[in-house]
């Protein structure tokens, strides 16, 4: 298995080196210029609806495109004390409708289950970003489908493609077969099945240096092929653009695709995506309780530009006055039909 960039001592493991890379590259227009042209500078938040929590960087997979640089060698894990701060912030913020749990593999956090149990008392929509293979990684995870069902979690899972070779290129050898097996287990308890009310959504992201095709066309292909070949059902498909940071940035640079990929993103810039950007209705919480505008800013260590930067001083009023931090990676969320954790946005 591959190592994370951090474990292999790669310079792009450090957020400041990624930001320097963007700053020194003068081939592309600045994202801030695009916002200024659209009179959206500074970019301001809208009503906070999504509370996204990164439970840690530990993962059983080492995906080639991972913006978290997650893997088995990452030990950063959210503590129970920080989870309690999350619960308090959610309780105090009625506008939050969704709690979105991500990682790494969030299930690898030893407090994952008690946290979900506590969250389910708050009557919010809970999303678990499950990488599928975790369900089969160890006996102790085999009952996760039942656990998700018990707490009415929405399961959102990456399956970068409906064909084995492309999925395994991105996520590692054998991942496709295990993912199919895990999807069957989720279907078995009702996830993705019509009338069950248990939502199972899949995430497509390109296995290479290109943009996603239109989400609807792709969804039709996924539905047809996964049902025909494997008897698998799911609800929706989210097509997500790879954001040029961390491991994906390293891939682009190493494969000499960076210039062409950034050119594609910049040329596909679509101002109609600005209203629906996820950073405008989301707060992203790091494993250590620090606050960010989105998961990508979190990985670039671009904390909220506010007096409030940590859960311990969570104050929605103050956060609402912040300007959202943007940089060159934001061209990823504004290209074409746009991209968010829920797929296309325009």
């Amino acid at each position: 298995m591959h190592k994370s960039l951090l474990a292999s001592g790669h310079s792009l493991a450090q957020p400041e080196n990624q930001l320097r890379f963007f700053a020194e590259d003068e081939r592309f227009p600045r994202f801030t210029e695009r916002l200024q042209a659209a009179t959206e500078w500074p970019l301001k938040p809208q009503q906070l609806q999504v509370f996204q929590v990164n439970l840690g960087k530990m993962c059983n997979q080492v995906c080639a495109h991972c913006h978290v640089d997650a893997g088995p060698d990452r030990k950063e894990i959210m503590t129970w004390e920080t989870m309690e701060l999350c619960i308090q912030a959610i309780k105090n913020t009625p506008s939050i409708s969704t709690v979105d749990l991500t990682g790494g593999a969030p299930e690898m956090n030893p407090h994952f289950r008690p946290f979900v149990e506590a969250l389910s008392q708050l009557r919010k929509q809970i999303i678990v970003r499950c990488n599928l293979t975790i369900i089969l990684a160890n006996k102790k995870y085999n009952d996760l489908p039942d656990f998700y069902k018990q707490h009415n979690c929405q399961v959102v899972s990456s399956l970068p493609f409906y064909a084995e070779s492309r999925t395994d290129k991105q996520r590692g050898d054998g991942v496709f077969k295990k993912s199919i097996e895990a999807l069957k287990l989720l279907n078995k308890v009702g996830y993705g099945m019509e009338g069950s009310g248990l939502e199972l959504h899949l995430v497509y992201n390109p296995a290479g240096a290109f943009l996603p095709p239109p989400q609807e066309q792709l969804k039709a292909d996924y539905k047809a092929i996964l049902q025909q070949e494997y008897g698998i059902s799911f609800n929706d498909l989210f097509a997500i653009t790879n954001i040029p940071i961390s491991r994906y940035l390293n891939y682009l640079v190493k494969s000499e695709n960076y210039e062409a990929y950034m050119t594609k993103l910049v040329n596909a810039y679509n101002p109609a995506t600005l209203q629906g950007l996820m950073c405008r209705n989301t707060i992203s919480v790091g494993w250590d309780g620090y606050l960010y505008d989105c998961d990508f800013n979190q990985m670039l260590d671009l904390k909220t530009a506010s007096t409030v930067q940590h859960l311990s001083t969570f104050d929605l009023q103050a956060l609402n006055h912040r300007a959202i931090q943007v940089n060159q990676h934001c061209f990823g969320c504004t290209a074409g039909s746009g991209s968010s954790c829920g797929g296309e946005i325009a």
Binding site: A163, S165, F210, L211, P213, D221
Partner: protein, 110 residues
């Protein structure tokens, strides 16, 4: 003037309108219309375009439609089969002229 083909020229395709704007504009409008979802999907059209690109041996087109067909979800095997279809038609087109050769030989021989 040392390079006949430069991959960066693909991105300058639109500049052909500089010397003849009206015709260029008409071409690009028509081109855009051709590749939209219609009786054939945009995805299906990308695979046809890939095969034709090989038949006309246009490196710019091969670059463009290899990317597009792959992005739209065709597998490596499907794309290579499309190239074989183009090659088979090109090969067949040469070979079917063998009948013309046979006709001529039969006509002039005793």
């Amino acid at each position: 003037m040392s390079d006949y083909y430069n991959s960066k020229d693909l991105h300058r395709f639109g500049e052909i309108s500089t010397y003849q704007k009206e015709m260029g504009d008409k071409f690009f409008d028509w081109y855009g219309e051709v590749f939209k979802d219609s009786a054939l999907t945009a995805k299906e059209k990308s695979l046809i375009a890939l095969a034709v690109s090989h038949a006309v041996q246009c490196p710019y087109c091969i670059d463009a439609y290899s990317s597009t067909a792959y992005e739209k979800g065709y597998s490596e095997t499907q794309m290579m089969e499309a190239v074989h279809v183009a090659a088979a038609i090109k090969g067949g087109a040469a070979l079917v002229h063998g009948v013309q050769m046979m006709n001529k030989v039969e006509k002039i021989s005793m």
